[in-house]
């Protein structure tokens, strides 16, 4: 039996990493993946709007076992910075969605992404808030949107990847870093963007 201090987040991280893919804009090889995406349901993948172009457009999914699968961008909300890509036959198990609003500040969270090209890297921290940004953090008007804000290290390549709770449930889609604070789009916003898609 392993202790919690030894195992820590390794089990939930392993499960979630199986549902995280690389993504490249357009038709490219598997080495071009610049961001991350989350297998959400069926053939649908969720990522950041800023790593793909507006539909109709193409994107390439790079599966955890290294296959490049062609996909198409089917929804994109540039202001909210999330997009949906359909990649038929990718065969990646869907992640489990969680509810950021049920978590309190200080709850353990972790991110999976490809910071600086490192595949499926895990970074750990705690939730700061699920709210608009505090006054003084500024963000060209985007500060009034609700963000999952976390003390987790993100880097280029984490964009579009999941921010998850201690059980590995996806509570947000990593979008950017403001004053060092990791910002993710709340998972319920993803469900809103997905509505009507199958």
């Amino acid at each position: 039996m392993t202790t919690m201090s030894a195992a820590f987040l390794s089990d939930p991280a392993e499960r979630l990493r199986a549902s995280v893919v690389g993504i490249a804009n357009g038709r490219s090889g598997r080495r071009a993946a610049a961001g991350a995406a989350i297998a959400w349901s069926g053939d649908l993948f969720v990522t950041s709007a800023h790593v793909v172009t507006a539909p109709p457009s193409q994107a390439t999914i790079v599966t955890p076992d290294g296959r490049a699968v062609p996909g198409e961008v089917v929804r994109r909300d540039a202001e909210r910075d999330i997009a949906v890509v359909r990649a038929a036959g990718a065969g990646v198990p869907a992640a489990v969605a969680g509810d950021p609003y049920s978590l309190r500040p200080g709850s353990l969270v972790f991110a999976v992404g490809h910071p600086f090209g490192v595949r499926d890297a895990v970074s750990v921290g705690v939730l700061q808030a699920v709210s608009p940004l505090p006054r003084g953090y500024g963000l060209n008007g985007k500060g009034s949107l609700v963000w999952v804000q976390a003390d987790v290290r993100l880097a280029p390549g984490n964009s579009g990847g999941p921010l998850a709770d201690a059980q590995g449930r996806v509570i947000g889609v990593a979008a950017m870093v403001v004053f060092g604070v990791a910002l993710a789009v709340p998972a319920p916003e993803v469900e809103r963007l997905l509505s009507g898609l199958t």
Partner: protein
């Protein structure tokens, strides 16, 4: 695996509990443009924050956990330890539960907390990186113990508490004491400085009114006096303890109260404590000859603090 998952969920809940417990005693301090800083309700009606986050001394307000914004007055501030103390109406919010920083060891889980607005407390997570004894920070103040962690002090987190996994507050985090690391001003230092700030509005420091520089003695004097180094007087202010005691430019202080002096640390240690009015026995080398001089320590003038 189920057990691991359950204990991990429990850890997450405990951290959130710690944030909620300690967060109940935190206020947002509005004493600078744009971004507020964080204050800890250290005892009833008294809020502690960092000196560096106080940019105006009047028209200060704090936001309470319930979202109310109430006025606060600056009781005092100390640049040397980067602490400032505010008074607010009694009974406004719960008082902080303090811990003992001596119980923290490198590797212990800790949180840095902040309150930036009417929303909930904010948290950053990490571990204690190093602990140690008394030290003097670059701003000149004496800090009772060394407590460093790998936490990120985000904008607005300055003045907020370092909290253990049970929600006890071990000190106040300062972004200004160390350029690169999260440094915590421990409970003992906060208590000591807060008491002085509430009584007087500032922290008294000893002063003798002389500028000095460490020097090595010439070989002949070294051999004769069995000493290697001392502090050379570069200037002596008029109407100051040093000039009243007859100290002269060119004198080299080699011992204080019988203890060897070869650098600033020993001098600052003597002058840092509660020493105003105390007589300091100096051994001085003047023109190659040992001389004994008594200096009565005065309070450092406020302009020079």
């Amino acid at each position: 695996m189920t057990d691991d998952r359950t204990t991990l969920a429990m850890l997450s809940e405990q951290l959130a509990d710690a944030v909620a417990t300690a967060g109940a005693a935190l206020v947002a301090v509005h004493a600078r443009p744009r971004l507020p800083s964080t204050g800890v309700h250290w005892k009833d009606g008294v809020v502690v924050t960092t000196d560096g986050t106080i940019r105006r001394e009047d028209d200060i307000a704090v936001t309470l956990p319930d979202g109310r914004r109430i006025p606060a007055t600056l009781a005092g501030r100390d640049r040397g330890t980067d602490l400032a103390v505010l008074r607010i109406a009694s009974g406004s919010l719960p008082v902080a539960t303090l811990g003992d920083p001596a119980t923290l060891r490198p590797g212990h889980l800790v949180l840095a907390l902040a309150r930036l607005d009417a929303g909930g407390p904010r948290a950053a997570f990490g571990a204690v990186s190093a602990t140690g004894g008394k030290w003097r920070c670059w701003k000149g103040g004496e800090i009772d113990s060394w407590l460093q962690s790998d936490l990120d002090i985000y904008p607005g987190f300055g003045g907020g508490p370092l909290v253990d996994a049970t929600g006890r507050i071990h000190g106040v985090n300062s972004g200004g004491l160390s350029r690169t690391l999260a440094t915590t001003i421990p409970v003992a230092t906060v208590n000591r400085v807060m008491t002085q700030l509430l009584e007087r509005g500032y922290v008294t420091r000893g002063w003798i009114g002389a500028a000095m520089q460490p020097v090595r003695l010439d070989p002949a004097t070294q051999q004769r006096l069995k000493r290697e180094a001392g502090l050379l007087l570069l200037s002596v202010e008029p109407d100051a303890p040093a000039s009243r005691a007859g100290l002269l430019v060119g004198d080299i202080v080699v011992a204080m109260d019988g203890k060897d002096v070869d650098g600033f640390d020993q001098l600052l240690d003597v002058l840092g404590g509660d020493v105003v009015g105390r007589k300091l026995k100096l051994e001085v080398v003047r023109a190659g000859q040992p001389v004994s001089v008594d200096v009565v320590i005065d309070e450092r003038p406020r302009r020079a603090r």
